[in-house]
Chain length 109, copies 2
Protein backbone atom coordinates (compact mmCIF):
# COMPACT_ATOMS: atom_id res chain seq x y z
CA UNK A 1 0.00 0.00 0.00
CA UNK A 2 1.31 3.42 -0.96
CA UNK A 3 0.28 6.90 0.12
CA UNK A 4 0.33 9.93 -2.20
CA UNK A 5 0.58 13.17 -0.27
CA UNK A 6 2.16 16.37 -1.64
CA UNK A 7 3.41 17.19 1.88
CA UNK A 8 5.84 14.26 1.74
CA UNK A 9 7.88 16.10 -0.90
CA UNK A 10 9.15 12.92 -2.52
CA UNK A 11 10.56 12.61 -6.02
CA UNK A 12 7.91 10.84 -8.12
CA UNK A 13 9.06 8.82 -11.13
CA UNK A 14 6.44 7.54 -13.56
CA UNK A 15 8.22 4.99 -15.73
CA UNK A 16 6.35 3.62 -18.77
CA UNK A 17 7.71 0.41 -20.26
CA UNK A 18 6.38 -0.27 -23.78
CA UNK A 19 6.00 -4.00 -24.31
CA UNK A 20 4.71 -6.61 -26.72
CA UNK A 21 1.31 -7.43 -25.14
CA UNK A 22 2.16 -11.14 -25.08
CA UNK A 23 5.14 -10.32 -22.80
CA UNK A 24 3.38 -7.92 -20.42
CA UNK A 25 3.05 -10.46 -17.59
CA UNK A 26 6.67 -11.60 -17.96
CA UNK A 27 7.82 -7.97 -17.79
CA UNK A 28 5.63 -7.35 -14.73
CA UNK A 29 7.20 -10.40 -13.04
CA UNK A 30 10.74 -9.25 -13.94
CA UNK A 31 10.05 -5.79 -12.48
CA UNK A 32 8.57 -7.32 -9.32
CA UNK A 33 11.62 -9.61 -8.94
CA UNK A 34 14.03 -6.69 -9.37
CA UNK A 35 12.08 -4.61 -6.85
CA UNK A 36 11.90 -7.38 -4.27
CA UNK A 37 15.52 -8.49 -4.52
CA UNK A 38 17.31 -5.23 -5.15
CA UNK A 39 15.48 -1.90 -5.46
CA UNK A 40 13.39 -2.12 -2.27
CA UNK A 41 16.66 -2.45 -0.30
CA UNK A 42 18.19 0.72 -1.76
CA UNK A 43 18.63 3.76 0.53
CA UNK A 44 15.94 6.35 -0.12
CA UNK A 45 13.50 3.96 -1.81
CA UNK A 46 9.94 4.80 -0.73
CA UNK A 47 7.58 2.84 -3.01
CA UNK A 48 7.03 1.14 -6.37
CA UNK A 49 3.57 0.50 -7.84
CA UNK A 50 3.25 -1.64 -10.95
CA UNK A 51 0.39 -1.27 -13.40
CA UNK A 52 -0.53 -3.20 -16.55
CA UNK A 53 -2.53 -1.23 -19.13
CA UNK A 54 -5.90 -2.56 -20.22
CA UNK A 55 -4.51 -3.00 -23.78
CA UNK A 56 -1.36 -4.72 -22.32
CA UNK A 57 0.95 -2.40 -24.34
CA UNK A 58 2.41 -0.74 -21.22
CA UNK A 59 3.69 -1.78 -17.84
CA UNK A 60 4.05 1.39 -15.77
CA UNK A 61 5.73 1.97 -12.43
CA UNK A 62 4.58 4.83 -10.20
CA UNK A 63 7.60 5.14 -7.88
CA UNK A 64 8.54 7.41 -5.00
CA UNK A 65 12.09 8.21 -3.85
CA UNK A 66 13.46 10.40 -1.08
CA UNK A 67 15.38 12.31 -3.76
CA UNK A 68 17.23 12.21 -7.08
CA UNK A 69 20.60 11.31 -5.50
CA UNK A 70 19.14 8.08 -4.05
CA UNK A 71 17.63 7.11 -7.39
CA UNK A 72 20.88 7.88 -9.23
CA UNK A 73 22.87 5.71 -6.81
CA UNK A 74 20.46 2.78 -7.30
CA UNK A 75 20.66 3.16 -11.10
CA UNK A 76 24.48 3.33 -11.09
CA UNK A 77 24.40 0.00 -9.25
CA UNK A 78 22.04 -1.56 -11.83
CA UNK A 79 24.39 -2.09 -14.80
CA UNK A 80 25.23 -5.75 -15.34
CA UNK A 81 22.63 -6.81 -12.79
CA UNK A 82 20.66 -9.95 -13.79
CA UNK A 83 17.24 -8.42 -12.92
CA UNK A 84 17.96 -5.22 -14.80
CA UNK A 85 19.10 -7.23 -17.86
CA UNK A 86 15.90 -9.27 -17.87
CA UNK A 87 13.77 -6.09 -17.78
CA UNK A 88 15.73 -4.58 -20.69
CA UNK A 89 15.31 -7.82 -22.70
CA UNK A 90 11.51 -7.77 -22.29
CA UNK A 91 10.73 -4.05 -22.66
CA UNK A 92 10.74 -2.36 -26.09
CA UNK A 93 11.21 1.16 -24.72
CA UNK A 94 11.61 2.72 -21.29
CA UNK A 95 10.32 6.27 -20.71
CA UNK A 96 10.86 7.66 -17.21
CA UNK A 97 9.55 11.13 -16.33
CA UNK A 98 10.49 12.85 -13.05
CA UNK A 99 7.85 14.80 -11.14
CA UNK A 100 6.80 16.74 -8.08
CA UNK A 101 3.35 15.79 -6.74
CA UNK A 102 1.55 19.10 -6.40
CA UNK A 103 -2.06 18.34 -5.41
CA UNK A 104 -4.28 15.41 -4.32
CA UNK A 105 -8.09 15.27 -4.43
CA UNK A 106 -10.65 12.84 -3.10
CA UNK A 107 -14.43 12.96 -3.74
CA UNK A 108 -16.14 16.28 -2.89
CA UNK A 109 -18.05 15.91 0.39
Amino acid sequence: MTTLDPKNDYLTVINMFSVDPSKADDLLQALMDETEHRISKAPGFVSANFHVSKDRKYVTNYAQWRGQADLDAMMADAEGNQYFKRVRELADKVSPVFYDLRASYGPAS
Copy 2:
Protein backbone atom coordinates in the same frame (compact mmCIF):
# COMPACT_ATOMS: atom_id res chain seq x y z
CA MET B 1 -4.04 12.13 0.31
CA THR B 2 -4.51 9.06 -1.87
CA THR B 3 -3.94 5.39 -1.20
CA LEU B 4 -2.66 2.93 -3.82
CA ASP B 5 -3.66 -0.62 -2.99
CA PRO B 6 -4.18 -3.37 -5.60
CA LYS B 7 -6.95 -4.84 -3.41
CA ASN B 8 -9.17 -1.81 -4.11
CA ASP B 9 -9.52 -2.94 -7.73
CA TYR B 10 -10.02 0.59 -9.06
CA LEU B 11 -9.53 1.71 -12.65
CA THR B 12 -6.29 3.73 -12.74
CA VAL B 13 -5.92 6.41 -15.41
CA ILE B 14 -2.51 8.01 -15.91
CA ASN B 15 -3.14 11.06 -18.07
CA MET B 16 -0.10 12.94 -19.43
CA PHE B 17 -0.73 16.48 -20.66
CA SER B 18 2.12 17.81 -22.84
CA VAL B 19 2.51 21.54 -22.30
CA ASP B 20 4.67 24.54 -23.15
CA PRO B 21 6.79 24.78 -19.96
CA SER B 22 5.80 28.46 -19.54
CA LYS B 23 2.15 27.33 -19.26
CA ALA B 24 2.63 24.38 -16.87
CA ASP B 25 1.38 26.25 -13.79
CA ASP B 26 -1.65 27.64 -15.65
CA LEU B 27 -2.52 24.14 -16.85
CA LEU B 28 -2.09 22.75 -13.32
CA GLN B 29 -4.45 25.45 -12.03
CA ALA B 30 -7.03 24.73 -14.77
CA LEU B 31 -6.95 21.01 -13.93
CA MET B 32 -7.30 21.75 -10.21
CA ASP B 33 -10.27 24.07 -10.92
CA GLU B 34 -11.98 21.45 -13.08
CA THR B 35 -11.40 18.77 -10.43
CA GLU B 36 -12.68 20.93 -7.56
CA HIS B 37 -15.75 22.27 -9.34
CA ARG B 38 -16.82 19.31 -11.46
CA ILE B 39 -14.89 16.04 -11.52
CA SER B 40 -14.68 15.45 -7.76
CA LYS B 41 -18.51 15.54 -7.63
CA ALA B 42 -18.95 12.83 -10.30
CA PRO B 43 -20.27 9.42 -9.23
CA GLY B 44 -17.46 6.87 -8.98
CA PHE B 45 -14.66 9.43 -8.71
CA VAL B 46 -12.04 8.18 -6.23
CA SER B 47 -8.98 10.43 -6.57
CA ALA B 48 -6.94 12.77 -8.76
CA ASN B 49 -3.26 13.51 -8.17
CA PHE B 50 -1.56 16.24 -10.17
CA HIS B 51 2.15 16.23 -10.90
CA VAL B 52 4.39 18.73 -12.70
CA SER B 53 7.51 17.26 -14.31
CA LYS B 54 10.91 18.59 -13.29
CA ASP B 55 11.42 19.86 -16.87
CA ARG B 56 7.89 21.39 -16.83
CA LYS B 57 7.00 19.69 -20.16
CA TYR B 58 4.28 17.49 -18.61
CA VAL B 59 1.44 17.87 -16.17
CA THR B 60 0.29 14.36 -15.27
CA ASN B 61 -2.78 13.18 -13.41
CA TYR B 62 -2.72 9.85 -11.57
CA ALA B 63 -6.46 9.23 -11.16
CA GLN B 64 -8.57 6.45 -9.68
CA TRP B 65 -12.18 5.62 -10.64
CA ARG B 66 -14.61 2.97 -9.44
CA GLY B 67 -14.85 1.79 -13.05
CA GLN B 68 -14.81 2.68 -16.75
CA ALA B 69 -18.57 3.43 -16.90
CA ASP B 70 -18.21 6.19 -14.26
CA LEU B 71 -15.29 7.77 -16.11
CA ASP B 72 -17.16 7.59 -19.44
CA ALA B 73 -20.22 9.31 -17.92
CA MET B 74 -18.06 12.14 -16.53
CA MET B 75 -16.32 12.58 -19.91
CA ALA B 76 -19.65 12.64 -21.82
CA ASP B 77 -20.67 15.48 -19.51
CA ALA B 78 -17.45 17.43 -20.21
CA GLU B 79 -18.04 18.73 -23.75
CA GLY B 80 -18.72 22.45 -23.85
CA ASN B 81 -17.78 22.82 -20.19
CA GLN B 82 -15.76 25.98 -19.38
CA TYR B 83 -13.12 24.08 -17.29
CA PHE B 84 -12.65 21.40 -19.94
CA LYS B 85 -12.24 24.10 -22.64
CA ARG B 86 -9.57 25.88 -20.61
CA VAL B 87 -7.58 22.65 -20.19
CA ARG B 88 -7.77 21.92 -23.91
CA GLU B 89 -6.59 25.47 -24.72
CA LEU B 90 -3.50 25.11 -22.52
CA ALA B 91 -2.44 21.51 -23.22
CA ASP B 92 -0.64 20.60 -26.47
CA LYS B 93 -1.53 16.90 -26.30
CA VAL B 94 -3.48 14.66 -23.92
CA SER B 95 -2.46 11.00 -23.59
CA PRO B 96 -4.56 8.93 -21.19
CA VAL B 97 -3.65 5.29 -20.53
CA PHE B 98 -5.99 2.95 -18.60
CA TYR B 99 -4.53 0.50 -16.09
CA ASP B 100 -5.00 -2.10 -13.40
CA LEU B 101 -2.73 -1.65 -10.37
CA ARG B 102 -1.13 -5.06 -9.90
CA ALA B 103 1.47 -4.73 -7.12
CA SER B 104 2.68 -2.22 -4.51
CA TYR B 105 6.03 -2.28 -2.69
CA GLY B 106 7.47 -0.35 0.22
CA PRO B 107 11.05 -0.51 1.53
CA ALA B 108 12.31 -4.03 2.39
CA SER B 109 12.33 -4.49 6.15
